[in-house]
Subunit: 315 residues, 2 copies
């Protein structure tokens, strides 16, 4: 028997067929095409499920269930997506209606939580009893795995790890608070910090490189730092300080066996992880503990959400 994992995103919907070794053996995808009514999105999810199964050379008879990772608050008890800002969902009966469409049991979960489960089952945190997965993207997403299971609080809304204030009265965050970690450590924040440095240092190597490329991305500062630009190095150093500050908070709170970092910026590898780890080693409360959290880059990329969603029925 296989399972289907669906990653329902604001831009794309991807359905994957996942085998018993937690490998994706076929996929199907389409654009999310927002805004549109939720029923149309569910119909696409049902169609993609069938398409993916066909692409795997199987039929729906071979499918045990469908799991869905969805942005926002997914109530795993009621099967409702209580609220999703990105999708403009409010109290959407995703579980019940999709189950009726595909004729299979459906499980739902927040997308970041599903991705964390994917990394814990088959990725960078495989075998870890406790793990945290932090994704540095448009925002700072998080998922908490305790005893191999997703921890999402008593109301299924927990693990908003990007929304911890690390600078009281600091930068405005999209959530309404000021000074959230997300406002300092997301890719969006790094781009903002990079742009500010370019504006203040128009003659820097980084400014010239950005002008040549015609855009600023999460890589701009890292690339310019590697090319020897001191302005870029200052941007990266400051970004790493904020990132490490929140990560050390997470270590002091959770002492997870594995702390895994995903999202585009995690591709910087050791240029990111090494200095971050130095900060954590210096600052963590558990200096005297024999066993320390292992920091690593996420391994599965966008597949984490699909594999995690496909494991929701075993939670």
């Amino acid at each position: 028997m296989v399972r289907i994992g669906i990653d329902l995103g604001g831009t794309n919907i991807v359905a994957g067929v996942v085998n018993e070794n937690n490998e994706i053996i076929a996929k199907a995808e389409c654009k999310t095409n927002l805004p549109r009514p939720y029923k149309a999105i569910l119909e696409d999810m049902a169609a993609l499920s069938k398409q993916a199964v066909e692409n795997a050379g199987l039929t729906m008879e071979d499918v045990k269930y469908v799991g869905v990772g969805c942005p926002g608050t997914c109530n795993v008890f009621t099967g409702l997506v209580e609220y999703s800002c990105n999708l403009d969902f409010k109290e959407v009966p995703l579980q019940a209606e999709l189950a009726a469409m595909v004729g299979k049991p459906v499980y739902i979960e927040n997308d970041a939580n599903a991705a964390a489960l994917g990394e814990a089952v088959a990725g960078a945190a495989k075998g870890a009893k406790n793990a945290l997965c932090i994704t540095l993207g448009t925002g700072v997403g998080g998922g908490i795995i305790i005893d191999g299971k997703i921890y999402d609080g008593f109301n299924c809304a927990a693990a908003e790890l990007g929304h911890i204030v690390i600078v009281v009265d600091g930068e405005q965050c999209g959530c309404g608070r000021q000074g959230c970690w997300e406002a300092y450590a997301s890719a969006t924040a790094l781009i903002r910090q990079t742009k500010a440095a370019i504006e203040q240092n128009p003659d820097s190597l980084m400014a010239k490189a950005a002008q040549e490329k015609g855009k600023v991305s999460g890589r701009t500062a890292f690339d310019a730092m590697r090319a020897g630009c001191p302005v870029a190095k200052a941007v990266v150093d400051q970004y790493i300080k904020y990132l490490a500050s929140g990560l050390t908070n997470m270590v002091n709170i959770f002492q997870p066996e594995v702390l895994c970092i995903g999202g585009g910026i995690s591709h910087e590898g050791d240029a990111l992880l090494k200095p971050v780890m130095e900060h954590i080693e210096r600052d963590r409360y558990s200096k005297y503990s024999k066993h320390q959290t292992r920091l690593c880059a996420a391994a599965l990329g966008n597949d984490a959400g699909i594999i995690g969603a496909a494991c929701l029925g075993e939670q």
Copy 2:
């Protein structure tokens, strides 16, 4: 059968006999008298256990086990206190040596974790599946209860909830970091903030009240605020802002069913809890969730640690 719970503190050691309803039926206590060798402390703990049992009109035959809440990192797998700054313990075999002295199984746990378990078993968080307990004392202590059990990470060093940075580059914290929540929201921090305000406003009602009393405590600002002092109100407002900032972080991370606040400052009751709750309601990420965390004062005071310690064998 009864169980013995011991609260091993930097100032006092208290042993309590706990019955099957998780009530303390007798106690015995002595001074910790630091500094002294750990063996002397263990001998006192064994003697207090016997004394408490005698005070209850029972014998050690009636005792199932002894649980100990101890400051620092207690490895529940090895039975070693890996490190306790307060007690100057390093790799102390508390479990094995105390068990040999009392002739009963011994369980150990960090004292804040034990207190959280006590509140979850018999206090303010009774019946809650998930709960956080925050103690506002010399520091900001924390305990995490998930599915009725203590969560302490893969190395037994988790739940250092006071040591999350809420102001990057902020006030120096005793742990070595700058800007920890503890450096803003502990009773110690409130006293420091109160003293600073008194120094800057020597003619304020609060300054006069402090001079009359001959000291500044965690109550000084709250009392002066109630007497109508605007300087005191500003101190309390600022303290509550920092306290609520960290508590909202905890809600966004854990979405616990119950968030319970202990320590001396929690005796302020609604003067503290009401404005804190207003901050949390305004700032939490889960604005749209039907079910929201319940904030309350801890119910058991210093007994929480004894009752929690007495429940360690059922974890």
